[in-house]
Subunit: 412 residues, 2 copies
Amino acid sequence: MSTRRNIIVGQSGGPTAVINSSVAGVYTAAKELGFNKIYGMLYGIQGLLDEQYVDLSTQLNTDLDVELLKRTPSAFLGSCRFKLPEISADPDLYEKIFKILDKLEIDVFCYIGGNDSMDTIKQLSDYAALKGYTQKFMGVPKTIDNDLAITDHTPGFGSAAKYIATAVKEVIRDSLGLSYNKENITVLEIMGRNAGWLTGAAALAKTEECCGPDLIYLPEITFDMDKFVEKVRDLVKKQKNVVVAVSEGIKLADGRYVCELSGGGDYVDAFGHKQLQGTAAYLAGFLSEKLGCKTRGIEFSTLQRCASHISSLTDINEAFMVGSAAVKAAAEGNTGKMITIERVSDDPYRSRPGIYDIHDIANNERVVPREWVNKDGDYVTEDFVKYAIPLIQGELEPYMVNGLPRHLVVKK
Amino acid sequence: MSTRRNIIVGQSGGPTAVINSSVAGVYTAAKELGFNKIYGMLYGIQGLLDEQYVDLSTQLNTDLDVELLKRTPSAFLGSCRFKLPEISADPDLYEKIFKILDKLEIDVFCYIGGNDSMDTIKQLSDYAALKGYTQKFMGVPKTIDNDLAITDHTPGFGSAAKYIATAVKEVIRDSLGLSYNKENITVLEIMGRNAGWLTGAAALAKTEECCGPDLIYLPEITFDMDKFVEKVRDLVKKQKNVVVAVSEGIKLADGRYVCELSGGGDYVDAFGHKQLQGTAAYLAGFLSEKLGCKTRGIEFSTLQRCASHISSLTDINEAFMVGSAAVKAAAEGNTGKMITIERVSDDPYRSRPGIYDIHDIANNERVVPREWVNKDGDYVTEDFVKYAIPLIQGELEPYMVNGLPRHLVVKK
């Protein structure tokens, strides 16, 4: 690629607190490498199909804007949940996309997303190979769920984990302060449909001055209601105040999600995933009935993925790094690949970008290994903690304006 | 009071992010004024009845400890929800309390709490007057609900408001980033049984770069389900993405809480208040059914009162100020009073402590005045915003240890 032309970047899937730091990384690297136009597609591939895009140089006028972008949660450019059909099922759609790319003189296409979004990169690069198109397609990893294959971890996870551990510490203080001579059970519901990385991050709350949650249930382990009630009953007898962290995706032996027991799980998204909600509320009610004591259910909800006011600097920097590395890799001729994060060392923590064939990554879910969960299936091990703790280190203070974090929004 | 002896401080009711800053204020002022022992009762008056207390000088060894205390959420000393009976109903209980105070050689008794807790100060000071006891009883205001009478506002409110406004901004970014060509309704549930101060604080999210919530429903205004659905229906047609903030305490014309429609509101606490939960989930389900589009309910839950990682410096400083002022007022001979906050000016914002007879404060709830809610009853006015905005200003960064905010805990 001797004369570089234009590059386009898009965001896809559920946003994170640091997904925009990857846009900043793409933008910064593309500028350094002398790309002409740096476009941002609005609302991912779905918006691009409607020719919705912006020239990022009109959005990021100063270095301050780039810094503000790093501190802005959710998808700055807008995201989508749009799964490309198989090439054979709708070749016209693919032709349409490539016509738009041609019109914009795009050489490099970077897509920031999770599992489902990496499938988009796979399909587009396959189609380009099939048709002899020369555009390069690069995947930039992103997901709070940390469930992408091959990469050591995924940008977005560290900040979500930091938010969760902080919130768990605060909730534990709250419940301990109110539990004099009285039983008190708190059930915390944490995101993660099939992978328990985030729920496991609740264990990080266990620090010198905080006992951490008492029990942690990941979706990887079949949830046994009776065993659960007995565990909590024993703990309540012993210590009165009990805090339990559960994944929204915990399932019974018969395959039903726990949240379905209360009538949740009805809504199905564009990727065919059930929307899970209500697990904590259901379990809190169930425990209250069985054990006759005060319970409360707390759903950490959307804040897990958008609380940029307490994001991890390590995470922000790595999100930037993978965005930047994707551009460099494409400039060197790579396509159909995803940038990974390789862990170089634990202490001091160091990482570097790697690169991997998208075919080995797309649509593969990486779950918490069984050996990182204790024998009883109700807590994560020290190895899990050792893995996760470096990822929540450091802060990038928000820019506070009039008492609130300032965000960058697209000028249309 | 020429020879000062000992002082005791306690915390009561639902904690806040800054309730410990008031303990720091009491401790610092008591040291300055030369009190001998500075005790902290554990778990408020309930713990004191069991002679549960600590010597604060053993807990706060250095100025760093005092600073850490200001950054610790929830009740450092432990709290209780314990309502003293009428004096005539149980004089023995009062005698028991005064015997313990005598034993500890207490001159001054400071109690940090909200409405129900100020009643404790009223009863104890009344009993002392009745019996000719010389101890001084002072109330230190605290409540995220901001519903105490007389005082301009209440410590705890500013930090909860700052958390709420920050979270609302982040959730709005999240929902806007995901709402391309598709309807998306978010219902946010905010604390406040009878007073809508906190729910109104959602309006602070409306800033240069953020549209803020579209509708805000306070418990002061009767909630009309049909009108609500029509409002949301119109908004969804017009702008696709709709964010609504509701108080947990919104009620229908027939007096039922909205959350009761889904079977919530069963649990009743020691003060006789129903535990409200599930309003957002109920309304989200209801809207989804009526309007046939994607909805989600988000309960801000306990984090509202314990998110010390983003507390307001103004709030922390005022919490300290009222604690300190209570000690000074008692040293000057006051009893049966609560310290208030008087607003001196809006811009630049300045405040000072005042003092007021506890009889005019205890058990009185201050709600949002009707003229600070718009005509339709679905948003707060500019006057509300002007009132609340100074209270969320400034930050006191948490002390981060290994990636997480450090808290101070009682050494027992």
